[in-house]
Symmetry: C2
Subunit: 198 residues, 2 copies
């Protein structure tokens, strides 16, 4: 079965519709998708960019993005509520997702985080919120949170982020095929699956 | 008939496929499209950005863009050759297009400029190249070039650029519907036409 790597960042707005659409589209396309959380902020930092989201330091683009995201969510029937805080800290969620992808609840957890952040007005940087989301996907929160904050997981997420940068990734969501083609953005999801299937 | 404003910049890479696809898609959709050249560099400058293209001062994004554009052109059957000089000066071409849109040769000229720049390896900042392109679309170059460099046309293009900025435009190509919806990027062309047609 063809494969595709799906690189996502929980602070990334357009990663939300991509994450919600991915499982269905991948099944239709017959592509096996590996979900790979990473930290985009670390890549921005290495490029010498401001620590803040480009959608904040580029206000016209930011205003457009929120409206565009609202239209996209309406189009795909996804809930949407503009978060009061943006960007939110995605570090803990990314560490927990790194654990989850080693088990069978990673994708459910990732979707739950995106829904909490972009449809339910919740704060995903909050440990108690992450614990509730773990509970929702049927996982006992405390052992997972404890493991997510060990050096093993911290180092794994750091290596994944370095790998993303090595692959030329500069934004999220990004998709990388087995032959190294990079696609960037929710609006390239179908093109990436089609390329994987060539 | 529903209408749509198509804002384009000759230095903009993704404006090339949008310009080549627009007439056919607009006819299919039954939408009357107004082609509006403007100067994106002036908007970047007002935002305090570097004078250079973001694809140059964001090298990872730049590398991605050239590959993405190559794939898009292959997909749509458009010629493509990465220009040796990027970005090219678009000022004269934009002034001439401003004249052309007052007549019936504006769209043909715009397509000829994009083809020259992104498929034929020619320098669109060069007055002699613009003269040849005018010739190709059946227009006597010298009177048009002289008129394009009068204060009347310079001021008109400046007003159009100010209008683009007022509409929230921060990139090209952009599409604006009669009810004020803004869409950005070649990959939003179909969504913009569909919105115009609602």
């Amino acid at each position: 079965m063809p494969t595709l790597d799906f690189w996502f960042e929980f602070a990334s707005t357009y990663s939300y519709p991509a994450a919600m659409r991915m499982a269905g589209r991948a099944e239709q396309a017959g592509v096996d998708v590996r979900w790979r959380p990473f930290l985009l902020g670390a890549i921005f930092k290495q490029q010498g960019w401001p620590a803040d989201s480009p959608f904040n330091w580029q206000p016209a683009k930011g205003r457009y993005m929120w409206r565009d995201l609202e239209r996209i969510c309406a189009h795909f029937g996804l809930g949407f509520r503009q978060p009061e805080t943006f960007p939110q800290s995605s570090l803990l969620a990314a560490r927990v997702a790194t654990v989850g992808m080693e088990h069978d609840w990673g994708q459910d957890f990732a979707r739950a985080v995106y829904r909490a952040e972009f449809a339910q007005g919740r704060q995903i940087g909050n440990r108690a919120v992450i614990a509730l989301l773990l509970n929702d996907v049927g996982v006992d929160p405390e052992p997972v949170l404890a493991y997510a904050e060990t050096d093993v997981i911290k180092a794994k997420l750091r290596r994944e982020t370095e790998e993303a940068q090595r692959l030329g990734i500069f934004g999220a969501p990004s998709f990388v095929t087995a032959d190294g083609e990079l696609f960037w953005g929710n609006d390239r999801l179908e093109a990436a699956l089609a390329w994987a299937n060539r």
